[in-house]
Symmetry: C2
Subunit: 343 residues, 2 copies
């Protein structure tokens, strides 16, 4: 197995900078679109054969150094009694959002081994076919809480913040319950065979530092520490749009911190005392430009990335649906080529 | 005139912390909604009597220390030949966005004295009625460029970035033309009588530091330096969601830097060597909570704000439509009360 990605997660030296791409299995790929013509998004997530097929697509087409389980961060909410649908236009919709004690008390606990059996099957399927490491994932407690409370994506997250500021007891009860659920879900993925874990905290960046530090990061810490006491797979924590608070985030015991494009990667590493491997951080929109511009921006990130304890190349956010596939192939190749260490 | 706000802009000592609220004339006020029942948004912006009336409303109802001209950042784009409409559901729509050289060449130059006469009239109207300073404003070159290019608000700003990464010559031509237009528009406002200027850079935070530093901040600098050479009204620059890059932004010659709620106000001030008055920075969602929570958060911001060269209290973003008016009144009162210096 190509273990370059895992070595960099662990801070070991490697001969080139490994790369994978958030949402690398997705709509920009015609091969993915072909499958989506036949099945809807949720069906695809729950079918181990099809989910495996789209997970493998970018590894074969692009030559990335890791695969990531094809799924969605909202999948583990369903067995809690959440009525989830995906609208092509709006995105995810939760028809029974949790905004009060009564709806919180209705949330179910469940065993992911039973209720999310299809995830386990997909992972086992993939492990016998992949020649690169497989990344499992989950949303972080706060990010899942926003979907649960808002009932979908949001512009201003008013419901989440009404609860966070207005009923902190209930807010923390939600965070605590989600932390346990996510822990069990990730351990199930690890037992099934994933080689690393990424925890997406996509919406942490909407919160003021006071509340992040007092009421949110402690659940991230609890989650990661508990996983670490049961397993030694590398853990990537990706708090989107949080450059301003990376110093405090560096206390989290994840092996790798993912960053978006809003900060120079060497500055991010410095804020964390160069103690973490950094994953990132090209603006996904660069992939719409010419090869010259892509190369120039990749070179800049690679040169700055040398300062980090370790560097896993990635975009600063998920790849966008209409990104030209040829540019994506060029991107992966040029990262490999430019980062190759001479003999 | 109550000149506390202006004194703090200039870094002078005052006996309490002045406060105004972004979007303080707006939908959360029943008195504003009454007027909007009769006229649409664009008509309201262009009617000097009605625009004056809604500008004064929050001064009388809340007792804030400054008024801000009721208008919209897209108003000065219309005389450039932009077909602008406001949809209640979608927000602003520009029906002829600028994405290529041909549509850029079609943009008109104009004299704001003639084409935006209604703004001048509103300002003169207000100056004879207001007992607090009047803030004029404009969008910053980049933020206006995003609307011009996207044709409205956007999620990923793909068109803007396609141009920024893909055709930097045209991107910079747009930035340069907008910089001149904004300069002329703001000077017209100053000549008409505004006491201070705020430049909103609402979307700067979507850009990577490399491009902000090389291709965007120079236009902000040119704009502010040119205004400063013609006038001495204080200038507030508000780059939203840019906490990670405040150190570099502190080079801008604005008197005041506005910040959102994503960073502690004393940390922001420190990044700028405590050389700027800071405006901010309560999360607008705090105003949905109880008085206790509002007070607690105001106290925290005030206490940290003491470290700044000067502090103008504000929210970290515009006040939200459904904010309870009683809470807003309490907010203004408690800022005044808690910040009152003893004898």
């Amino acid at each position: 197995m190509n273990d370059t990605f895992l070595k960099v997660c662990r801070g070991e030296k490697v001969s080139y900078t490994p790369i994978w791409i958030m949402r690398q299995a997705g709509r920009y790929l015609p091969e993915y679109q072909e499958i989506r013509k036949r099945v809807d998004f949720l069906t695809l997530c729950k079918d181990p054969d099809l989910a495996s097929e789209v997970t493998i697509q970018p590894v074969e087409i692009l030559g990335v150094d890791a695969a990531i389980l094809f799924s969605d961060i909202l999948i583990p909410l369903e067995p809690m009694g959440i009525d989830l649908e995906f609208s092509e236009k709006i995105g995810p919709i939760i028809n029974n959002p949790v905004r009060d004690k009564a709806s919180f008390d209705n949330l179910l606990s469940y065993n992911p081994d039973d209720e999310l059996d299809f995830v386990k099957k997909t992972i086992k399927n993939l492990k016998s076919n992949l020649k690169v490491p497989l990344i499992g994932f989950s949303g972080a407690p706060f990010t899942l809480a926003t979907y649960l409370i808002e009932g979908g994506t949001s512009k201003n997250f008013i419901n989440t913040k009404k609860l966070m500021y207005g009923d902190r007891v209930l807010f923390e009860e939600i965070m605590a319950k989600l932390t346990i659920m996510i822990h069990d879900y990730l351990l199930m993925q690890i037992k099934a065979g994933v080689d690393a874990i990424q925890i997406f905290d996509t919406w942490l960046g909407i919160v003021c530092p006071e509340y992040i530090l007092k009421y949110i990061l402690k659940y991230v810490n609890k989650l990661i520490d508990n996983i670490k006491s049961n397993s030694n797979v590398p853990i990537i924590y990706f708090p989107f749009n949080c450059s301003y608070i990376l110093k405090q985030i560096s206390g989290v015991s994840a092996d790798v911190i993912g960053i978006d494009w809003r900060i120079y990667i060497d500055n991010a590493s410095e804020l964390m005392n160069n103690q973490k491997t950094i994953q990132g951080n090209l603006d996904p929109c660069v992939l719409f430009a010419t090869r010259d511009i892509i190369k120039q921006n990749v070179e800049m990130v690679l040169n700055r990335g040398v300062a980090c304890k370790g560097h896993i190349f990635n975009l600063g956010h998920g790849i966008l649906p209409e990104t030209p596939v040829d540019n994506v192939k060029y991107f992966v190749d040029i990262v490999h080529k430019l980062s190759q260490k001479g003999d």
